[in-house]
Each structure stands twice: as structure tokens, then as C-alpha cells.
Amino acid sequence: MNYLLFAPEFTLTAVAFAVLGVDLFLPRDKKGYLPALSVVGLIGVFVLSLRYLWGRDTDLYDGLFLIDNFSLFFKAFFLVLGVMVVLSSVDYVKKHLSRPGEYYGILIFSILAMMLMAASGELLTAYISLELLSFSLYVLVSYGRHGLKPSEAGVKYILLGAFASALLLYGISQVYGMLGTTRFDEIHAALLLEGTPLNPAVLVGLVLIIAGLGFKVAVVPFHMWAPDVYEGAPTPVTAYLAVGSKAAAFALILRLFSQAFMPAFDDWQIILVILAALTMTVGNLVAMAQQNIKRMLAYSSIGQVGYLLMGVAALSPLASNGVILHLVGYGGTNLLAFMCVIVFYNATNKEEIADFAGLADRSPFVAMAMSAALLSLAGLPFFAGFTTKFYLFTAAADGGLLWLVGLAITNSLISLYYYMMVMKQMYMVPADDNTPLNVSMFSCGVLGMLLAGVIIIGVYPGPLVNAIQAATKAILP
């Protein structure tokens, strides 16, 4: 067995420990080196992964880990995401959080967990990677030091997360009990052998697995934790939750359903269709009623999960491309939106939608970036949101879910309404306090990078789509 194929994971673990270790020796005023070290480490692993794993198709530990283009794509995506999250945390951590060493260290561990999730080819490995991710996130969510909100969010997340993990484990045990294996390819073979109709016990297992993973990505009705946790967590962590942990869970879902459960497609499609319809509608409707910007973005991302789930429900190579593309496009856009919230919070310590009043006068650039993010989330052309949504919706329509696509388009219209309420605050309502917002050049640079990314994906998606097609080919040939 070639352990070198695991080099990116080993290196990343080393980076995490390095960050924790260096932290011990850095004086308080030199902690700024930690994010720099993290970024260098993440970029190093990124380069290493691409150079070393490109085009490989093999497995490790007898099929527990799969080294293919799918896992490579997500590795690269998570590492880039990690860099962006670290960069957007810098000012926030300096201002609002203590112990930056643990913050960045745990963040890197969670990226490691996501990389393992996308690569796992077996249910228990996937479960353990998921738990590593969850435990890192439990800590990060309760990292805030002010007031009860962060601890409340953390406790809620732990308790419900444990409940969801139990469901998932029970589901796995059902599947193992009936089919005698936890490896994806063997499940696939066993299901083919079994034929239809599906054994009820396997079905129960499948539903429990859907519920457990549905919790992680906040599918209605397993979504209730999300707004509370999003609101209470430090904002960079919220952004990370909304983008990173969701993308990792969808990577696992895509691989699981295409490589393991595909033979039972007719059985589970209807579940996902109903959940998708419910998720996008509830998410967008409830978002309209929110007063807090983080809660609103939480519900809006629940709505986005509905679109993504629709793609999984129409699972085909085309739909898988659409889901991955939308994960990337929506992820970048959401990071941009949250970065604006972070910048705003750093300067004002406020995060209600009403507080954004007059932002256009206080900081035209931040207001413009936020507007771009919101318009992209609503799916306006020339931003990432349009291109990725269009791809996803056509793929779903191609899979025969035309009515669900109609519902999704209607939901996009509803979402435009509440996004514009925020824009109305920024541009139309005068501010109580008209002092210009204090935004560091560094934050402006991060905003500019994200904004450029959102526009590039929107205008010139070709190379990204090619990479995604290569990734999909690994799971759905």
C-alpha cells in the first residue's frame, strides 16, 4: 500500500499541530503569525495535493479511502475554502476572540475532516470523519467569549448533533445488518442482487442515514438548530458552517448515493424530492420574517440546500455536476456575504438587518460587495449564482423534475424580495450614525478577492465546469 497517497492529510495534520505548537511560544502581540502560518500550510497542502494526486484512481486501506478525481476536487475546494475562512477570520479573531492558536488549529483539523469525508469509501470511515468535523465545529461554535449566546448555541449544537449522529449510526447498523457490508461498492452490489422492492429494514436504515446527513446540511425538518447556531456562533464560523460543513456533507451524500445506493434510486428519489420541496419553500418563506442578518442568511442557505437536494434527487452525471457547481458558486457567494457581515460587525458590533441602514454612505465598497453577494444569491446573471443555478436547474429539469424546478424558480423570486429588503436598508434608510465605517485594507482585499471570484465563476465558468466533470466521472462514470 502506498502511504504516500495520504501525504496531504499527514501534512495537514502536521500543519495543525504546528499552529498549536507555535502558539505556545509566541508572545501575545505576535499572534498575527498564526493565520499566516495556517494560510501558508493550507496553500502548501493544496499544491502538494494537486501535484501528487492528479489523475490518480486508487484506494487505501482496502477501500476505506478512495483516491480519485472526486476526492481530489473536494480536497482542493476545501483547502481554498480554508484559506478564505482563515483570511476572513483574521480581523475578527484579533478583535473578538481569545486563544487564536486553538481557533486556527481546530479550523485546520476540521478541514482535514472534510477532506476525509469526501474521500471515504465506507460508511464507518465516513461516520468517523463526520464526527471529527462535528467535534471541531462544536468547539468553534462556542468560541465566542461574550454572553450566553455562544455557549447556548454550542450546547444546542452538541446535543442535537449527538442525536443526529445516533440516528446516522443506527441507520448504518441497519444497512450493515441487512446487507452485511459497509463498503459503498459492496452495498451497491448487494442492492443489485437483492432487487426491488427494497427490504424494509434497509429502507429504515436509508431514511435514518438521510435524516442524520440531513441534519448536517440543515434539511427541513432537521434544520431547527441552524438559525440558533448560526446566530450564536462567531461570524467566520457561521460562514464556515454554511459553506464548508455543507459542502463536505454534500460530497459524502453524492458519493454515497451514487456509489452505494444507486440501485435503489426509485425508492429514495421521492423522499429527496419531498424534502427538497419542503426545504426550499420553508427556508425562503421563513427568511422573509427575519430581523437578524445571520438568521436571515441561515434560512436563505436552508433554501439553497433545497435546490442542492433537488439536484441529488435527480441524480445523474449532469445533476451531480450541477450540485458540485452550485456548491462552489453558492459557497463563494455566501462567503462574500458573510465577509461583509464580519467587516460590518468588526466596525460596529451590530448584526441586525436594521443596523445596515445607510451603509451605502458609510462604506460604499462594503455596500456594493454585499449587494453583489445578495444579487448572486438571488441568481442574477453575471454573478456566480446565475450560472450555477441555471446549470443545476437545467440538470434537474433534464431529470424530469420540471415542477420542482418551477417551485425552485418561484422560490428564487421570493428570495430576491428579502435580499432587496437588506439592500433597501443599505441604500435607502438613512443611518443614525453617519461616521464612515472603519474597514482595514486587508479586509477590503479579502472582499475584493471574493467579489472577483463570484464574478469570474459567473462569467467564465468553463474551466471550473471541466474540473467538476472530471470529478463527477469518478463517481458516476
Binding site: 447556548e152 446535543l159 425538518p221 432537521f222 418563506l285 450560472t387 440538470a395 429539469a397
Partner: protein, 667 residues
């Protein structure tokens, strides 16, 4: 003959102007902001010259100039391409957009002088012009849709240009959301095409290419190949979806509500976007997919009836408005209805011809309103009057445009209106008869309201302008009774020329008594070169011409009696038809219905807030009631003071149970 790079430059030049102004001039060189205006004029002027070249090439080529498509994105085995579709329809629209935009940009130099956001204004104007040109040039329906949205976005930015005014910001949002409502249909239409892609792919066609859509809708034998047409059901649904987008953008009933409010934007913006270009995008869209519409009688009838009804419905509201820009806005809605009804009865060339003529005289009317506002400080005609004495040049150009829109021989409006009436009459049947009479009544109303506006604004005694309107608290602008500066008047004079003569391009007269320079049916024959379009140029129908002129003169005469000679008191007329008057004055309560009842009470309070409530409370109660997670956990989280965690856990469990139950029933 024009080459592809030059055609792209038509779109890229204004885009470059937007990028340069917003990335360089505004942040770094704001003290040189007057160069933003010059840069915009230069870019659009060059685009105008290139557009003339394009039209000349299309004329020389007698039809479409074929260029390669460039691949943008592949969805599975399907390419979405980018590229230019250069045919006579495109060329005509290019001329309209660039020429009106050029005139408006020159005018804006005067109108926007001293505005604190001068550069931002020209940046947005450049962006709008670029996106409108991109829309017109698109060869692919997805490309067209993208620019369609971008046009909507730049319109949003320009309506809300003075975003510190609540009315402007609200109007911008309303315009954006209402037009997007129509776009839901448009996007669904596109996806429905994709859904039926096999019908295209099996014949080597692409369901996103505009030319291919029209080809398959046309069916029959084309260039020696037998094309199997789309099923009529599919064609109808796609056409209806596309038309929904057109209804939103062109402010047709029932999505007409946004256009009058959009008048909150700067007046040159109204002239360019909400009179001459963006609002005709809907008409252009239907014309672009005309073979598709023609293949479905249902779709055609829907277009005709919606158009005819809008023409008359909007005109009634134009009769009673006091704000000059709102009169013009309802007039625009009504005229767009005219174009739609012409398309619906198959009078393709008449619709495009009216679009062409209308762009010039309506832009001129709006610029006139802006000029009047420059002097009086208000848009309320009740506080104007007598301005003819102070602004003779504005008066003359406004008069020319008013006569033109009323449809008086020999000005531009006469020719195209006449063609539409003839088209409706010849179409025959119930639909043809219905829309013909609608159009004729609307013609009467048009003449009446436009001359009512003219008399109230320019004749009689001056009634105090903005000072009288605001009482003592008039600030800032103030009354300044004088002709507007040349930079504003000159573009109006230039636009007055096509308002008089553009009608001759149709030249429906016999060769025997022709007009010399313009060949008979020149415009129709030009459009006849559009792929799969057959035009039926009609010789001039003297009875119709005479009849419609009489109707228009009657409208003008009535306006004269009421508002110039004061022989008939407007108040008494209003009192005599009080309920109808009030209904029209209150815009038939559509704003209340949409905003208050449907959006606020029905949707926001009713659906959204109750979903939120259920989300937070019902499941909560159930959870507490069942005490699902047991006491131990309850004690652990007792410090959280509420039962949310149990409730959420219970919600999840119930969710799983429901899925299982539904699922076992399903199988």
C-alpha cells in the same frame, strides 16, 4: 461589410465606458467628473456609427450575416454558446438604442449638471446601454436572458438613482420585483425548451439557439431538409413563458404597475429606458421568437388581447393624471400595448415600425417634460401653464412629438398607427375585430391626453410652478422661467427630425405618387429579410387613414375645448363620470391589490410569518408535550430556560416518522 469584431465593439464600447468610469474616474479622478459624460458620449457615439455600418451591411447582405458561435458552457452534450445574431431586426434595434441613447446622454450633460453623483449616473447609463445592446445582439436564448436580467438590474439602479428619496428607492424595488415576476415565466420557458431537447438534438439543432428555435417552430422543408416541427402544446407553453417575460418588461397588463412609479428616476433615464429602449425589449422578444408565436394560434391570441386591452386600459389612466411624466408613462404602456396587439394579429412589420417611430417621439416628449421641469421645478401640470412664452423651442418640439403620437398625417406616428389598424382589420375574426376597436378607441384617447398635457403645460397662464406646489417651503430647485440650455435643447431638436420623417420609411404609397428617395415598402422589405418572417406590405388604405385621422382630430378637439378654450369644464366632466374617474385616478386600485393585499397581508403576514410561527411554536409545543428526549437531557439543558432542544429533537423524530409512514403508504 461589417466584421464580427466591429459588431462586438457596439456592445463592448459602452461596457468599457462603464468599467473605466466606475473603476478609475469615480474612485481616483472624481474632480474630473465631467469627463465621465464625455467618455459616455464618445463610446455611445462610436457605437452609433458602428450600428449604421451594421444596418448598411445587413441591407447589402439582404438578410442575416452569419458568424460563428463561441462556446461558453456545456451542459452535458449541449453547448450554450455566445455570439451575435445580426439580422435586420437586430440592426433596426441597434439604431434605435444607440441614437436615442446618444441624444439622451448629450441632454444629460445639462440636466444632470451639478448632481453630486454625476459620474455614477454616466456609469449606470453606460452599463444600461451596453446591456441593452447585448440583449439585442444575442444569438442564444440564455445569452439573451442574461442581458435581459442585466437590463433590469441597470434599470433598477437608475430608477433608484436618487436613492435618498424613499419614493425612488421604493419604485426601483417595485420595478425590479414586478419584472422579475414575468421573468419566472421566461426562465421556465427556457427550461421547458431544454426539457424537450430531444426534439432538437435528434435533428442536429440546439434548443438554446434562437435561430434553431425559430427554425423548428417554423417546420416544413428548409434548405432541402425536412424539419419536424415542435408539438403545438410545447410551442404554446414555451411561447406563453416567453410572453410572460415580455409582459413584465413591457409593462403589459397585469404587470403594468411598475412603469408609472419608475418615473421617480431622473427624466433622461425615463426617456431612454422607460420610453424608447428597455420597455420595448418585450416587444423585441416576441418579435425575436415570432415564428414560434406564429406556430401557436393560442399564443398569438393571448398576445393580441393582452396588447389590445393594455392599449385601452392604460390610456384611460393617462386621461386623468396630473403629473406630466405619469401621463407619458401611461401613454408608453398604452403604445406598447399597440405594438403587442400588432404582433398578435401578425402585423410584424407594423409592430416593429411603431417601435421604431415611437422611440423617437416618446423620447422627445420625455426630454420635453424634463426641460419643462428645469424651468418650473415641478412635474405637476396643475402648477404649470403658459410655458410656451418662456420656452418656445421646447414648445415647438413637444408640439411636433404630440402631433406625431396622435397620428396626424404626415408625421411619423400616423404611418405606423395606420399600419397597425389595417393589420388588425385585415386579421379579421373576433379577435381582429375586438382589438381593432380597442386600438381605435385608444387612438382617440391618445390624442386627447397628449394635447391635454400640452395645453395644461404650455398654454394659459403660469400657475406658479414648484413654489406654488410646496407653498412657502420650496427649497433648492425653485422656479426659473427660461428656455433650457442648448445642450438640452439641441438633442430635442435632433429627435424632432425623425419624429416628423421616420414614418416615410414605410412608404405605403404607390410608386406612381411615391416619395422619391424612399422606395415603396422599404421598411417592410427590409424586415422581410429576417429568417422565417413573411411580411405582407399593404398599400395605403385611404378609408382607414381618413377614419383614424378624424378620430385623432376629435381627441385633439375635445382637449382643445376643455383645456384651451375652456368651453367644457373638466371638473364637470369628471363629476359626471365620478366613479369611473376615481377608479382611473386611483389606477384601478391595482397598487393596493398587489402591494397591500397580496404582498403585505397575504404573502408576508399570511404565509411567511405564519410559517415562521409554526416553525418556532407548534413544533416547540409538541416537543414539550411529548417530553421526547426525557428528563435527564432536560435537566442538563435546564440552564437554557426553554425547551427548544427537546422540541427540535422531537421535530426531527417526527420528521423521520412521517417520512417512513408516507413512504410505506407510497410503496
Amino acid at each position: 461589410m461589417i466584421f464580427e469584431g466591429a459588431a462586438w465593439a457596439i456592445f463592448l464600447l459602452p461596457l468599457a465606458s462603464f468599467v473605466v468610469i466606475s473603476l478609475f474616474v469615480r474612485p481616483f479622478l472624481n474632480q474630473y467628473e465631467k469627463y465621465s459624460g464625455y467618455l459616455t458620449i464618445l463610446a455611445i457615439g462610436a457605437a452609433f456609427v458602428l450600428s449604421i455600418w451594421a444596418l448598411g451591411s445587413v441591407l447589402g447582405n439582404e438578410g442575416e450575416i452569419g458568424w460563428e458561435a463561441h462556446s461558453w458552457l456545456a451542459i452535458g452534450n449541449l453547448e450554450i454558446s455566445l455570439g451575435i445574431l445580426m439580422d435586420p431586426l437586430t440592426a433596426i434595434l441597434l439604431i434605435v438604442v444607440t441614437s436615442v441613447s446618444l441624444a439622451v446622454q448629450v441632454y444629460s450633460q445639462g440636466y444632470m449638471r451639478g448632481d453630486p453623483s454625476y459620474s455614477r449616473y454616466f456609469a449606470f447609463m453606460s452599463l444600461f446601454t451596453a446591456s441593452m445592446l447585448g440583449l439585442v445582439l444575442a444569438r442564444n436564448i440564455v445569452q439573451l436572458y442574461a442581458f435581459w436580467e442585466l437590463v433590469g438590474l441597470s434599470s433598477y439602479l437608475l430608477i433608484g438613482f436618487w436613492y435618498n428619496r424613499p419614493a425612488a428607492a421604493a419604485a426601483a424595488k417595485k420595478a425590479f420585483l414586478v419584472t422579475r415576476l414575468g421573468d419566472v415565466g421566461f426562465l421556465l420557458g427556457i427550461l421547458y425548451l431544454f426539457f424537450n431537447k430531444e426534439a432538437f438534438l435528434s435533428q442536429g439543432l440546439n434548443p438554446f439557439e434562437i435561430a434553431d428555435i425559430n427554425l423548428i417552430a417554423h417546420g416544413g422543408e428548409v434548405a432541402g431538409v425536412q424539419i419536424i416541427a415542435l408539438g403545438s402544446g410545447v410551442a404554446t407553453w414555451v411561447a406563453v413563458g416567453i410572453f410572460a417575460g415580455a409582459v413584465g418588461k413591457s409593462a403589459q397588463f397585469p404587470l403594468h404597475v411598475w412603469l408609472p412609479d419608475a418615473m421617480e428616476g431622473p427624466t433622461p433615464v425615463s426617456a431612454l429606458i422607460h420610453a424608447a429602449t428597455m420597455v420595448v425589449a418585450g416587444v423585441f422578444l416576441v418579435a425575436r421568437f415570432f415564428p414560434l408565436f406564429e406556430s401557436s394560434t393560442t399564443a398569438m391570441n393571448i398576445v393580441a388581447v393582452i396588447g389590445g386591452f393594455t392599449a385601452i386600459f392604460a390610456a384611460t389612466m393617462g386621461l386623468v393624471m396630473n403629473d406630466i411624466k405619469r401621463v407619458l408613462a401611461y401613454s408608453t404602456v398604452s403604445q406598447l400595448g399597440y405594438m403587442m396587439l400588432a404582433l398578435g394579429v401578425g402585423a410584424y412589420e407594423a409592430a416593429i415600425f411603431h417601435l421604431f417611430n415611437h422611440a423617437f417621439f416618446k423620447a422627445l416628449l420625455f426630454l420635453g417634460a424634463g426641460s419643462v421641469n428645469h424651468a418650473s421645478g415641478t412635474f405637476n401640470m396643475q402648477y404649470m401653464g403658459g410655458l410656451k412664452r418662456y420656452m418656445p423651442r421646447t414648445y415647438v418640439t413637444f408640439l411636433i412629438a404630440a402631433v406625431s403620437i396622435s397620428g396626424i398625417f404626415p408625421l411619423a406616428g400616423f404611418w405606423s398607427k395606420d399600419e397597425i389598424l389595417v393589420g388588425a382589420w385585415n386579421h379579421g375574426g373576433t379577435i381582429g375585430q375586438l382589438v381593432f376597436w380597442m386600438a381605435l378607441v385608444a387612438a382617440f384617447m391618445t390624442a386627447f391626453y397628449i394635447f391635454r398635457a400640452l395645453f395644461l403645460t404650455f398654454h394659459g397662464e403660469f400657475r406658479g410652478g414648484v413654489d406654488a406646489e410646496n407653498g412657502s417651503q420650496s427649497g433648492g430647485h425653485g422656479v426659473h422661467l427660461a428656455e433650457s440650455p442648448w445642450v438640452m435643447v439641441a438633442p430635442m431638436m435632433v429627435l424632432a427630425v425623425p419624429a416628423v420623417v421616420s414614418g416615410f420609411l414605410a412608404n405605403p404609397l404607390n410608386t406612381a405618387w411615391g416619395l422619391g428617395i424612399v422606395p415603396t415598402h422599404w421598411f417592410s422589405k427590409l424586415l422581410g429579410n429576417v429568417e422565417f418572417i413573411s411580411v405582407h406590405p399593404e398599400p395605403m388604405n385611404l378609408v382607414m387613414a381618413f377614419g383614424s385621422t378624424v378620430v385623432a382630430l376629435a381627441g385633439i378637439g375635445l382637449a382643445y375645448l376643455m383645456y384651451y378654450a375652456h368651453k367644457v369644464s373638466p371638473e364637470k366632466v369628471a363629476a359626471a363620470i365620478r366613479p369611473a374617474y376615481n377608479a382611473a385616478f386611483c389606477k384601478y386600485y391595482f397598487d393596493d391589490l398587489y402591494e397591500d393585499w397580496i404582498t403585505r397581508r397575504g404573502f408576508y403576514k399570511g404565509v411567511a410569518q405564519s410559517t415562521d410561527w409554526v416553525d418556532r411554536n407548534i413544533i416547540d409545543r409538541i416537543g414539550v408535550g411529548i417530553g421526547f428526549l426525557g428528563r435527564n437531557v432536560g435537566q442538563v439543558i435546564g440552564m437554557l430556560e426553554n425547551g427548544q432542544v427537546q422540541a427540535y429533537g422531537a421535530g426531527m423524530s417526527i420528521g423521520i416518522l412521517v417520512i417512513l409512514v408516507v413512504f410505506s403508504i407510497w410503496n
